[in-house]
Symmetry: none
Amino acid sequence: MDTRERIMDTALTLFADSGYEAVSIRDVCREVGIKESSVYYHFKNKRDILDSLLNRFEDHVNALLAVFRSASMTGETPPSFDWMDTYFFDQYLFDPFCNKLMRLMMIEQFHDEQIREAYERWLFTEPYRIETSAFLMLAKVGVIPEADAAQMGRNYYANITMLIFRHLLNGALTEERKDAFRTEAHAYINTIIKQLGGKENV
Amino acid sequence: MDTRERIMDTALTLFADSGYEAVSIRDVCREVGIKESSVYYHFKNKRDILDSLLNRFEDHVNALLAVFRSASMTGETPPSFDWMDTYFFDQYLFDPFCNKLMRLMMIEQFHDEQIREAYERWLFTEPYRIETSAFLMLAKVGVIPEADAAQMGRNYYANITMLIFRHLLNGALTEERKDAFRTEAHAYINTIIKQLGGKENV
Amino acid sequence: MDTRERIMDTALTLFADSGYEAVSIRDVCREVGIKESSVYYHFKNKRDILDSLLNRFEDHVNALLAVFRSASMTGETPPSFDWMDTYFFDQYLFDPFCNKLMRLMMIEQFHDEQIREAYERWLFTEPYRIETSAFLMLAKVGVIPEADAAQMGRNYYANITMLIFRHLLNGALTEERKDAFRTEAHAYINTIIKQLGGKENV
Amino acid sequence: MDTRERIMDTALTLFADSGYEAVSIRDVCREVGIKESSVYYHFKNKRDILDSLLNRFEDHVNALLAVFRSASMTGETPPSFDWMDTYFFDQYLFDPFCNKLMRLMMIEQFHDEQIREAYERWLFTEPYRIETSAFLMLAKVGVIPEADAAQMGRNYYANITMLIFRHLLNGALTEERKDAFRTEAHAYINTIIKQLGGKENV
DNA sequence: GATGAATGAGTGTTCATTCAT
DNA sequence: TATGAATGAACACTCATTCAT
């Protein structure tokens, strides 16, 4: 991994732990093993590191979305909760890069409007859009009574959002916390499936 | 209001906006209208201001809890969603002091274990305890089928938690955001009441 | 002399030697014997030191002008070249504070419009006004033929200005340079006096 | 123009605007369109650029002097104020290269003895030598009474020097400033010519 | 109770320069 | 010829804190 990459990587880890302001260029450089002045060869200034991270996140998550959309559009595999596990849980919520950026956005949203918008979009608006549309698709396929789709989607979204803040954006992201999230998420999903008379999914 | 009070007040407002680290003693003093050295007559150091705020919050919220408990214990008035409005929404979530402290805890939880514990307790554990117990009481009173109480309580908790993060801990606390929270919360509560065959509550 | 005074004093000496940009706060503090951070108790920033110096100069020189004006207005003593020696040479050109500020303005006029204006004013416009008006007064008193006053004033001004740049704003201000200035200035003045048929003034 | 040339050219322009210290290698390279490290192929270090400029100036101005001397020695054309216009004004004072170097010397003379010497030489000593010798020649030719030559030469020199500092080394060298210089210089010259009973020269 | 004055440690950033390629 | 990458030293400035008054 080249220097620029290592700076971004280290900075993100520290930013996600303590917030942008609380992390100094010195801190980043100590970790990376370069001199402070070297940072300025790769980045215009400190803020430029943050912006680069935000841009990379935006790109990364848009790519994820594109894959997800094309997969769900072709319809070759019917929508299922397993999808969520793969695309939303594993590749988004648990992904170290994405998780750190969510923490960063969560801290910085309070004093940066640009970040606040990203925060609202990627933790609320987009998940809501995807999860409710998944339930609408399940209704189309006939798995769910059409009348309940919206309400169920909204409930699902609320439960997952609560679990994200409770377990994945609370202190350090340990395996215990991931397990707690997974356990509660699956328990919730199974109650839904039971209501639908479906089979359990562990 | 005496000087010590004004320092705490101002510090909290700034901390809630930008986080503890990002706010300087200078910033606080400029607002309060005193010299920086004067702060050290009232507080041991900067951290002491933060600790005093956390202690005051703990006291304040324990007092709230005590009132709530005694009110619900006497059973003179049956538990209802109106309670929530009064005790949980108005006196806790919307209360400027409490709301600022929640923001502060949300920002600082990532690099301070003591704050993380308070954060987990007052945003997740305690609300969960109270809200689910409210539903259990509703079940005892016969308003809700005993079998659904736990599940409904959990759903209620998840929805309210999601709304808190989405609307009350997102950017500045404006009247629009309070309204958005209230609207969505009441809409959700009404769907529950409808399911129970009860009357709407606006 | 208090700290603020000593900072200004030292800064001016260094600025006049090397220019504003080339002098660091470190340089000033080393000389004054204080820590760099202490400067910021007395001045908002580096530029504030410069501005304070310029303001003080403006005040100082306006005071000089006022004294000169009142002295020449009362007319108790007729205008003479001795006046110039006292007011313009000794109290202005040779005065260490004023001389240093002239050097500073001379260096900084190239990249600061505000300073350029002061430079033009206090090295060209005001001296021109004063010196030509002195010759007009001499004409009124009958010492000089009215017709020659303007031309002689202008020549006097040109000669003195040239001597200022040649001797007083060239390298360090040593006693030799002051002597060179005085010698040439008096020589020039004496040729004028001779032309007028007056007595020599050494 | 090759790279070395472009570096010197750009550096001079920037140095003349802001002084040597205030201009960074970065500034020069940005303008030239090369990377900072490339400068060190063409110059030993930053100071080497300055020295090269000073050397080039010395050569340039010596060449000018040689042309002027041979022209005045042959005596094929009698000395005149038109000469001054051509050699001293147009080819020296208004010449962009020379004018920039004069500014540079004016700024840097205060903290570099080598530059101070060049400054004194090319702004005072040499012009004085040339201008007074021109008046001596005019006396030889009989245009001026021998007795007045020295005095008139000195006055001429003083007036031109004052105009140089007032108009050509004051802020940026604009067409307005050149015009102001020319107007005042010609006005002065005409008063001399009038005194000599000669014809006006516009 | 409050402040004037000071400070050591640290902040982000710029600088001229080096050197392998 | 030119540059990508790095660096030590310096820069202006901010910080929380101290202490005598």
